[in-house]
Structure formats: C-alpha cells, structure tokens
Symmetry: T
Subunit: 150 residues, 12 copies
Amino acid sequence: MERQAVGQELAPLLIELVDLALTAKQAHWNVSGMWFRQLHTQLDVLADDLRLWSDDVAERLTTIGVAADARVETVAARTPFASFPSGSIDSTKVASLIVERLEKVVENNQTRIAKLGVVDLVTQELVIGITGGLQKQEWMFAAEQPGRPA
Amino acid sequence: MERQAVGQELAPLLIELVDLALTAKQAHWNVSGMWFRQLHTQLDVLADDLRLWSDDVAERLTTIGVAADARVETVAARTPFASFPSGSIDSTKVASLIVERLEKVVENNQTRIAKLGVVDLVTQELVIGITGGLQKQEWMFAAEQPGRPA
Amino acid sequence: MERQAVGQELAPLLIELVDLALTAKQAHWNVSGMWFRQLHTQLDVLADDLRLWSDDVAERLTTIGVAADARVETVAARTPFASFPSGSIDSTKVASLIVERLEKVVENNQTRIAKLGVVDLVTQELVIGITGGLQKQEWMFAAEQPGRPA
Amino acid sequence: MERQAVGQELAPLLIELVDLALTAKQAHWNVSGMWFRQLHTQLDVLADDLRLWSDDVAERLTTIGVAADARVETVAARTPFASFPSGSIDSTKVASLIVERLEKVVENNQTRIAKLGVVDLVTQELVIGITGGLQKQEWMFAAEQPGRPA
Amino acid sequence: MERQAVGQELAPLLIELVDLALTAKQAHWNVSGMWFRQLHTQLDVLADDLRLWSDDVAERLTTIGVAADARVETVAARTPFASFPSGSIDSTKVASLIVERLEKVVENNQTRIAKLGVVDLVTQELVIGITGGLQKQEWMFAAEQPGRPA
Amino acid sequence: MERQAVGQELAPLLIELVDLALTAKQAHWNVSGMWFRQLHTQLDVLADDLRLWSDDVAERLTTIGVAADARVETVAARTPFASFPSGSIDSTKVASLIVERLEKVVENNQTRIAKLGVVDLVTQELVIGITGGLQKQEWMFAAEQPGRPA
Amino acid sequence: MERQAVGQELAPLLIELVDLALTAKQAHWNVSGMWFRQLHTQLDVLADDLRLWSDDVAERLTTIGVAADARVETVAARTPFASFPSGSIDSTKVASLIVERLEKVVENNQTRIAKLGVVDLVTQELVIGITGGLQKQEWMFAAEQPGRPA
Amino acid sequence: MERQAVGQELAPLLIELVDLALTAKQAHWNVSGMWFRQLHTQLDVLADDLRLWSDDVAERLTTIGVAADARVETVAARTPFASFPSGSIDSTKVASLIVERLEKVVENNQTRIAKLGVVDLVTQELVIGITGGLQKQEWMFAAEQPGRPA
Amino acid sequence: MERQAVGQELAPLLIELVDLALTAKQAHWNVSGMWFRQLHTQLDVLADDLRLWSDDVAERLTTIGVAADARVETVAARTPFASFPSGSIDSTKVASLIVERLEKVVENNQTRIAKLGVVDLVTQELVIGITGGLQKQEWMFAAEQPGRPA
Amino acid sequence: MERQAVGQELAPLLIELVDLALTAKQAHWNVSGMWFRQLHTQLDVLADDLRLWSDDVAERLTTIGVAADARVETVAARTPFASFPSGSIDSTKVASLIVERLEKVVENNQTRIAKLGVVDLVTQELVIGITGGLQKQEWMFAAEQPGRPA
Amino acid sequence: MERQAVGQELAPLLIELVDLALTAKQAHWNVSGMWFRQLHTQLDVLADDLRLWSDDVAERLTTIGVAADARVETVAARTPFASFPSGSIDSTKVASLIVERLEKVVENNQTRIAKLGVVDLVTQELVIGITGGLQKQEWMFAAEQPGRPA
Amino acid sequence: MERQAVGQELAPLLIELVDLALTAKQAHWNVSGMWFRQLHTQLDVLADDLRLWSDDVAERLTTIGVAADARVETVAARTPFASFPSGSIDSTKVASLIVERLEKVVENNQTRIAKLGVVDLVTQELVIGITGGLQKQEWMFAAEQPGRPA
C-alpha cells in the first residue's frame, strides 16, 4: 500500500463530507414552506450518514498513518463547494442545492475509486461503499425536484 | 421577547459549539499514546454532546425567528478559538487543549445567561442547561491533566 | 367447516394480496415528484401489511387442507387487476392508482365475508380483520388525492 | 410558596393544554389533501406532547395542594379558544389553525412565567420548559403555512 | 355498508370514550387515601386503553366517510355521563364511580353490536373488541369496591 | 460563581439525600402489613430517585471544585434527621415518616434556591429540579396517610 | 451420582411446584376486594416463578435419566396440598392460603437438600436456589397477612 | 348476555386448555429421538400459547361473573382427554398424540362458537380467535406425522 | 458509468430475486413431512433475504436512472425458472428444488459481476454481496439433501 | 434453620456492604489524575454491585425474620473500616484503598461461609455468590496497583 | 483457600472447555445431512456456553492468583480428547461425538467438585454450576442419538 | 471459481484468526498494571471481532466445498505465530505483542487479496473486509505503544 497515494484521495473526500454534513444541518434548520417536515427529516438522515462516512474516512486515514485534518479552517479553505445560501430556504429549492453537491462528490469519487484500485483495495472498498450511499441519497433528493420529468 | 437581543447571544454560542464539535472529532482521530483508548472514547462522548447542544441552539434561533448560520465559512470566520494543532497529539496533552476551550465557552455563557435573564427566560434556561453540561465535561477532562494537584 | 367452500373464498384473496404487494413495491421504487418521500414511505408500510396478510391467508388455506398457490405464474394468470403503469410515476398520480385497487379487494371481501359467515367463522374473522386494515389504508391514500373535496 | 397564586396560573394552563390536545386529535383524524400524511403524523406528535405537559401541570397542581380540574364540562366552559372547525380540513389550512392556538398559550405563558417568578420557582421552571416546547411546535407548523415568506 | 347507519353507532361511542378518558385522568390526579398508588396506576392504564380505543373509533369513522367529532364542546354537549365529582376523591370511592360509567358504555355497546351486525361486520368486530376490553376493566375496578361480596 | 457560597448550599443537601436514600431502603426492607407490596415498590422508586439526585449534587460539587463528602461518618454526624425507627414498620405508618423527612429537605431547599439565585444559576437550576421531584414524591406518600382528609 | 436417590427427591418437588403454579393462577383469577390489584399482580409473578422452577426441576430429572411426570392425573393424585377453596376469595384471605403452601414446600426442601448433599451436589444447588426463591415469596405474602404483628 | 349459558361453554374449555398445557410440557420434557430439538422447541411454543389462552378464558369467566376453576383436582376430574403416555416418547410419535388432542378441542369449539353466537358475541369472538390458533398449531404438528401423504 | 449496460445486468437479477422470493414463500406454506418445522423456518429466512436483496437491486436501478420493473406480469414473462410444483411438497424434496434455483442465479451473477467490473464498481459490489449471500443459502439447503455424500 | 445464628452472620455483612457502597461512590466523585476516567467508571460498577448485594442480604435477613438495619447511624457505629480519606484522591492511589477493604470483607466471609454451612445452606449459597463477586472486583482493582509485580 | 490446590482443578478444566468450544465450532461448520439445520444451530449454542464457561474459569484462576493458560499450544498439548474427525460429518453421527466429550468433562468435574469442597467453596460453586450446564447440554445431544431407546 | 485456489488462501487465514482469538483471550485474562482496565476491555472487543471473522471464513470454506479445519491440533501445528508469553503481562507490553501479530495477518492478506482477485471476487471481498477491520484494530493498539512518536 502506498500511503501517500491513498492519503491524497481520502484527505479531500474528508473535507467534502464534513462540509456537506454542516450544509445538511444548515438546511435542516432553515428550510421552510409546505414540504418543511419532509425535508427537515430527510436532511437529518443525510447529515447522520455524512457524519458516519466522514468518521470512517478519517479513521482510515489515521489507520494508514496519515493524519486526518477536518478542523474548521482546513475545511473552509479546501472545500470545493460554493457558499450555501444563508437564511431561510424555500422547501421547493432545497433539493437541487443538495443534489448538485452530492453529484460533485460522486463524480470526484469515480476518479478516486479508479486510483485507489491501483494502490489499496481496502480503501477502495470503503470509497465504493460511500459512493453507493451518496448516489442513493442523490436519487431521493433528485426525485423531489419540482418540474422533474416523471 | 426581544428577538434581536436573544439572537445576539445565541448566534456566537452556535459558532463555538460547532467549532468545538469539529475539534473534538479532530482530537478523537489523532490522539495517540498510552491513554489513547480512554481519550478516544471520551472525546466521542464530548462530540455527541456538543452536536446535540448545537442542534438545540440552532433550532431555538429558528424558533425565535433568527436564521441559524453554522456554515463552514461562517464558523471559520467567527470562531473565537485559536487553531487546534494539526497531526498526531500525545494523549497527555489532549486534556488541557480541551479544557481551555470549554472554559472559554463557559465564561462567555456567564454573560449570556445574565443578558438573557432580562429578555427571554426560555432561552436562558436552554443556555443554563448547556453550561451545566459543559462544566461537567470540563471537570472530567481537567481531572486528567498531568501534574494536576490532587 | 366445508373445506372447498372456504378455499374458494381464500384462494383468490391470496392472489389479490400478493399482486398488490408487488404493485406497492413497484410504486415504492418508481414514484417521483414533490411528494416522493411521503409516498415512498407510505407504500412500504402498505407492502408490509399486504405481505403479512397474504401470509395469514396462505397459512389459513394450508391449515384447512387446501394448498396455497401464489406462484408467479398463478398470480399473473388469475389477478383481477389491470397492469400497473411501468416506469416513473408522478407523486400526484400514485394515490388514485392504489385506491382503486384497494377498493376492489374490499368490495370482493364484502361478498367473501357474507359467504364465509355460513361455512367457517374462524376464516370469516380473518377476512374481516384484513378488510378493516385494507379500508384504513384506502382512506389514507384517498386523503391524498389531488382535487379531493375537503 | 403561595398556593393560591400558583394555582391561579396553572389551572387555566391545564384547560388550554387539554383543549389543544383534543384539537390536535380532531385535526389528526380529519385532515385531508396532498399533505395529509405529513400533517397526520405531525399532529399526533403534537397531541402526545400536549398530553404529557397537561399531566405534568395537573400533577403539579395536586402536589401544591390545589385540585386539578380538567373534566370535560370545565374545559368546555373555560377554554379561551374558539371552536375548531368541524368536518374535513384541507391540509393547506391546518397549520394556521394550529399556530394561532399555540401562539395564544405561549403569550399567556409569558405573563404566567413572570408571576410565578415571584411565588414559586419550581412551578416557574415547569412552565418555562413547556413554553419552550410549545414554541418549537409553533415554529414547525408555522414553517408549513402556504404563502409564508421564505 | 350503509355509511350513515354505521356513523350513528360510532359517533356517540367516540363521545363516551373521550369523556371517560378525561374522567380517568381526572381521577388519576385527584385520588387520595390508603389505596392511592394502586388506583393512581390503574386509572392511568384505563386512560391509555380509552385513548387507543377512541383513536380506533375516530379513524373508523373517517375511513367510512363520516367526520369524527370529539371537540371539547361536542363532547361536553353530548356526553351521557353526569358530572364526575370535583376535587380530591377518597380511594375507597373511586371504583364505583368508574364501574358505573364503564357499565353504561358496555350496555350501550350491546345495542350497537346488534345494529352493526346488520350493516357492517368490520365495524361490528371493532366494537366487540372494545366491549371485551371495557368489560375486563370493569371487572378489575368492580373487584375493588368495598363491601363487595366475595 | 462564588465557589464557597455554592458549596455551602450543596454540601448539606448531599448529606440529606444520602441519608434519605438509606432510610428509603431501610423502610423498603422492613415495611409490613396489608399495604406491604404497594409501599415496598414505592420506597424502591424513591430510593432510586434519591440516589440519582445525590449523584448529581456530588458531581456538581466536584465540578465547581469543592470535594464532595458523603462518607458514612460524615453523613451520620451531619444529618439533620432524627433516627428512623428500627425493626418492622407497619404499612400504615410508613407514609408519615417519609413525608416529614421529604418536607424538611423541600423546606431547606427553598432557602438554598434563594441563595443560589444570587451566586450560580446553573446550580440553582439543579436544586430547583430536585425540589420539584421531592415535592412530587412527597405528594404521593402524603396521599397515602391514614385519616388524611379527602 | 445415584440416579434413583436424586429422582426420589425431585419427583415430588415437581408435583408440588406444578400444583402451586395452578393454585397461584386460580387465586390470580378469583381474588376480590380492596387489595385486588396488588394481589392479582403478585400472584402472577409467583406463578411465573413457579413455572420456571418446575421447568428446571423437570429438565434436571430428564437430564439425570429419570422421566419427569407432571401430567394432571399424577399431580392430582400425589400432591400433598389440600384443596384450594373454589370461587371468589377475599383479598384479605389470600396471603395465609399461599403462605401455608409455600411453607410446606420449603420445609420439605430442607430434608431434600440434606439428602441431595450426599448424592448429587449439582441437584442440591438447584434445590437450594429454588428454596431461597420460595422463602422470598413466602416473606412477601406473609408480610401482607392481616393482624400480623409488626 | 346470559351468564350461565356463557359459563357453560367456557368452563370446560378452560379445563381442556389447562390440561393440554400440562401435556405439552410433559412432552417437551420427555421427547427423545432424532427430531428431539425441533419438537422440544415446538412444544414449548404450544405450551406458551395454551397458557395465554387459558388465562384469557379464565379472566373472561371472572369478568362475566362466573368463578373460574382450574384447580388440579377439577382439571383431573373433568378433562375429556385420556392419559398421556408416561416416560420417554419417541420424537416420531409426538405429533399424532398432540394432533388428536388439539383436534378434539377444535371440534368442541365448533359447537361452543355456535352456542355463543346466540348469547354473547364478545365471548364468541374470544373462542373464535383461540380456535384459529389451535387449528394453526394442529396443522404444524400434523405436517410432521410420519407417513403423512404429501 | 454506462447506465444501459448496468441496467441490462440488474433488471434480470431483479426478476430472478422476486420470483425466488415468491417460490420460497410457496414452499414455506406447502412443505410437509418429518422435517417440516426446520424447513418452514429456513424458507422464511430465505424469503426475507431475497426480499431485502430485491429491494436493494430495484433501488439501485432507480438510482442509476433505469426504471425497475417487478410487476407480476413482467416477472412471470421473464423469469428463467421453470414452474415450482404446486400443492404439498415432501420435506425431503424441498432442498434440491431450492438449490437448483439458487445455483442458477449464482451462475448468472458470475457473468454479471464480470461485466459490471468494466462499467460500474458500485453496482458490482452490490452484486458481489448478494452472490455471497445466495451461496451461503445454497450451502445450507444443499447440506440437507438426502443421499448427499458426507 | 437457626434464625439467630444466621442473623449474626448476615447483619455485619450488610453493614460492610453498605459502607463500601458509600465509599465506592465517594471515590467515584473524588478521584483525579491521568487514570481518572478508567477509575471513575470502574468505581461506579463496583458501587452498583455492592448495592445489589446489600439488597439481597437485607431481604434475606427479613425473609428469615431478623430485621435488617442499615440506617446511617448503625452503619457508622458498626462498620469495621477506618475512615476513607476525604477530598481529592490521586488516581494512582485508589486501587490499594479499595483492595484492602474488599480483602477484609472476603476474609470475614470465609468464616461466615463456614458457620452458615452448619445452619442454613440457602444463606450460605448467597454469601458464597457475593464472595465470588467481591474477589473478582478485588482482582480487577489489584491489577491496577502501581508497582505490582507482573 | 489453598491457591495451588484450586489451580490444579481449574487449569485442566480450562483446557477441556476451550478445546470443546473449538470442537463445537468445527462440527458447526462441517455437519451435513438431513438434520443439518437443527445441529448447526444447537452446536452454536453449545459453543457459546463453552466460551462463557471458559471465560469464568480463566478469570477465577487469575482472581485466585494463578495465571490462566489457554494458548493454542498448551491446549493442544494437554487436552484429554482424541482428535475430532476432520471434514464433513453426517448429521446422524454428530450427537455421539459430542456426548462422549461432554460426558468426560462431567466425569472429571465430579472429582474436582469433591476436591474443591475441601479447599474453596466459591470455586466449587462455579464448577457445580458449569457441571449442571454441561449435563443439560449432554442430555439434549444424547436425546438425538439414532437408535436411542425411548 | 476455482475451489482449490480459493481454499488455499482461506484455510491458513482461518488458522491465523483462530489462534489470534485465543491469544486475545489469553492477554485479556493475564494483563496487569496501571492500564489494566483499558486493555482488558479492548482485548475482549478484539477477540469478539476475530471470532466473527473466523466464523465467516470457515463458513465461506464450507460454502465453496472445502472442509474448514480449526481443530486445536491443526491450529497448533500450522499457526505461523511464535508462542505468546505465558503468565502475567504488564499492561505497557501488551500493545506491541498484539500489533506484531495483527501486522503479520494484514501482510499475508495483501497477497491473498491479490490471488483471490483472479479466482473469486466474492471471497476477495470477504478478505478485503476482514483486512480493513484488522488494520483498524492494529491502529488502536499501535496508538498505545509506549515511546511511540506522536
């Protein structure tokens, strides 16, 4: 196993997952409108998943001997995501904001999975599992986008 | 109830709790040394408490009509805490790093409790409850500081 | 107890319940639109109820000495229901598709209950219990039909 | 502790909570329309909270030596709430009907909390806790009002 | 199924169950004397049963298309029960007050069961089940009446 | 927070709670007579509450930096309670023995709550919560005193 | 281990425990009077204990190669207990009827324990454990006998 | 409800269920042979069902004002069942011994259900429910009889 | 990820799992003979596994944007399995009927796993996991085939 | 059984266990230093064990007809243990303080077990069981003594 | 207590229990034939019991100050059991292989119990308890031996 | 799938896991010193993991048709690990003894994963999962090695 090669894939994934967990909570608190309850609950489930996955990624980093770094200043500096809107968010607008972020991590993971297949199959399996979970979450928010063709 | 006055006390408390939760996780992953297991577990319990408290504070903010803001860039910009050390941390050094941070929130809360007593007793009770919890956590980490007089 | 008379009522009920359980799952997977989450969950609860009821009916058949038959080709051949639409279904259209199917089983059960009252009160009680459950499910989907007069 | 002064605050609160619990159940049974399931569930959670709080208030009354009275004729005679509409209620109209009632109890409690602060801090804490819970419920229904500015 | 005929049996039963649940709670709070604890607990179990049964009856009403009505003013106006005594009640006097009320509902249900047997067997079964439960509760309170011949 | 002032209120409360827990157990073991089972159970619930409260008070003492002291010789020396009767106790005599002890702690706590309001609101809230619990226990034993006016 | 010697001690114990379990249930159903609820519950706990103990004794018999016999005609023929009164039993008379039966088994077990100490310590330990349980049950019923000196 | 008519149906059913529960335990302890474990477990489940049903029947008797009687001498005198074989029973012979006994109760219940339909529908429903359960148990033992035609 | 290529592997797997779940239930109801209980239980566990796996496969299809289709007519038309025998099945004949069907899915999955390895590793991992589960089930039924060489 | 002889062994054991439970709590609250968390938890487990054992001993005393006495003044007067140090205790010093106390009870119990073997085997078994538990606790604290030869 | 004398009885018992646990697992994995499922489950329950008992024995050894030794080479060298057959084992042959091993430990324990009665009653009780458990397991396997006389 | 090739990878892994589970228990019983409790617990968690993994590996062997062999003489003969030290082990020395053993299995598994990737992806996934678990355990023990650079 090549430690640095593995660390280069996992470290940014950790940043993305921790930022998304904060974002899911932010939306959980500020969503408003007729679908409030549905989304308030769904976002909390998403946040729970993201926290579990970030824990798994961080502990895998430490396990392979690379220090995990998800301090707030690190996440703020390295996150690839644009700022999530502040204040109240209408319940019809939440889904697409979440979908585009989940999509980006899934996309990044495709490359990571390919690279990890060469250097560490144990880490690759971890990222495959997380990617499957992210895609399922993405489907369930995408299904709720207004104007989505049935 | 004066909404803005209440919001001015809760908003920074939310920032502090969210940052501390990230810090507790950071230490949970990177602690190392003979007391590893004791601290690895204790820091996870602390992170769980901090997450529950930040959820309560954020939902109280929304309840009184002030938008909660704990996005990563907001927390990074407004947190009162200096950077937590990166990389592996010796298990004999964790306690004091945590204690000084908990102490600061407790200190800030003393003022907040006083101010809230004038404007909103419901919010005051929430902050009193969190402060009691923070002080108990502070005691249990302080007890583990090396060289602490018995 | 007249075994054949009882079997003639239960055997088609088993077919209807097994087909409806497959239908509920089909809708659970393919529903889409703003009410996705609400219906995705509700359809799973319905499928669970239908599976429990079909188990009770099939075991009652075996208990009275008539072989239960819910093999896929039997269900496909004998089901009274028209084909459920394939592909994605808009969340505003699910309720009426489910209601009309539940209504049909309830209607059939009215006759079955009357006939069973003459030949086997134990089986009658089973069908009465299932009918009450089907009617409750029907109410909860009917309540969600768009354009329904309040 | 001045028993009568405390009783004068708690007795009407008990009336309000018991009436609201009956109202929440009434709406739970009669709500109808596209958001049926979301509100059917949410109203049941509200009813459970209200029943627990009314139990706490009634037992506090007995504890301080004032007989609790929540017999149906007492509640009907003393409730401050106008009649809840009979019959089926559209799911887009439930939220505001609930919000206005919760708001009234919260408002009444502000005065009660102030008065209790002078005569009995134990009872005051009970009413502060219930008020926090009522405000959280109010937020979650208010968030679902149609036409609510995000 | 004749909807109105069914509704005519269930609607007054709902009133009786909701009033009795309030009465059971009233007695639960105000009972006093040497058998306090035994009755305080037993009355709470009774209230729980009555609440579950009233929920079943109200949802059956909605299911068959008749609006349930258990608003406080409706219950107060239509309840067949005389006023329950206010204030503290000696623990030796509770049993007979409860027994006479349970007895009345059981008696009313005998007629209801007979009428429902003609119009809707599903509803009949529901009322039979509730009646069995009411009779069991009646036995357990009747057993505690002072001076009861062994 | 003035550490010594807080400690002066909590230290004697700890003594009272620990002594009462021993007393509740003593009565739990030695009660006898027709109401044995009711009181045997009720006293165990009381002992559990008292143990939890004494744990909270002792840990609050340590948290604020005052050593908790509930060693047997300390409790024996400082308890304000007269000796509980030795040997078997008739079940009609237990209630008043418990009530008078609970009453005394409640009375002492009134002063403590007032004093703590000036020096530490977190500790005050703890004592308010314990006092509410003690009063509820007092009510439930007082209700069982023979000859108690209904 | 001497199989027959062990069987001679266990077989009559099995008879006694099975008869007592039937007796406890008989009293559980027919008790009546002011202490009904207390005894109704207590007798059910006793029946559960007796059933567990009879299961242990019967399986020990089979384990050592002696066929257990607790068929109804065997128990009726060999039970050492006089007939339990038929019909309703006043709640003040239950305790002594139960105590005298428990006392007899405890007495018989003293001899059995002594004999088993010579032939099989495993079986002896089983009977010692059951005897401890019987004595505890005996105490708790004896405590409820009217006129019992405190 | 005609109390004596109901009692005449339930009293012998109670005898049958209590005797069968003792029989199921007798077989549970003494079964032996290759299918031991399967039957040892299955007979325990049967005994549990029979005990629950006998409790329901006995409490229904008391509820309607007829004293339940399942004392060992009553059961031994009135049971309709021939003696169950003593000693070890081969696992291939258990099923038919159990089936013939269950069959007899089911047969008796057919008449009872008919008679109860005239005098008390609540009791009839209880007996219908028990009969359904007995028939299911009968099927599962009958399925295990050697030489049973598939 | 090539959506159509993935869908072509998963769609037939869904058909096979849904048909097998119906088959497992069919056998669960109709098995008969000395090993009835063992197989009745084992087939239910198998049905539960198959239902969970079909849910995972169908939701993966929807996640990748291919509509899942497991309607009864689709399953009947596309299932690769010959008709399962109708009526009662001897318990010695069940194992081989199940084994040959499980074997076929495992065999098909070998090809699917290979193809999915090229187009989507997330879906491949899902199919690998299901295949491991199918093989374990296959072993446990195969172990029970009569005449199987030890 | 000779009641007084048994009481003479159990009464002082009750004193020792109650005092040790208070001591374990005292240490649980006041331990401090690097091994704080390990000992804080371990001492709570010890206190729970001691409370359960003291309950068993006290109820055995009552069962045999000797009044249990663990009032605070009795325990303070009769405890054989020297005063436990007041104030904060370093985590490296706790183990030996606990070990010497546990050792003493174990030593006393050796004599008690011998004496009880002559007068009451049921009580002897209780004390044997407690002694095994005390020795296991002693081992786990002894293992943590600094300077202990491995 | 004579430490070496106790150790001489427990050390070989530990070896026997650990070897038997490995054997139970070996049979659990390799059993095959018509009774597969029954034995596969039963052997796992046996392995769980043996692991718990070996843990108790090893911790008792450490408690009395004798180092437990159940390293693989020690167990292999000192086990009194002949090699368990390798490879697949027919389900009709498992029982006797297990019974003969259990019988041997039971036999050895008879001597151990006698010797321990002289030196340490706490350890004796532990071995008595384990022996009772081993005998019960032995019965349940012995009951399944083919050709066993009923 | 090439059965023999798969078996050649899994059989030695089974040996290693079973030996390590015995070693973890050996250390669990014999660890001693200031970190006793931390390691006593941690080693038990490790033993549980190892037992679950060895069960999975052995059942996979049987599933693919290769007899699992983890009899004590096989494990002793084929284990690659040097003898674990006998007797008491200081708590500062446990970590490195465990780490070096875990490291060896992880190293062996790297080769096994590579070989299995060619012959059986289902087995490969099982070994990848176990390897991830072993590495996580290795990290948590390695973190506790004295003198480990932070």
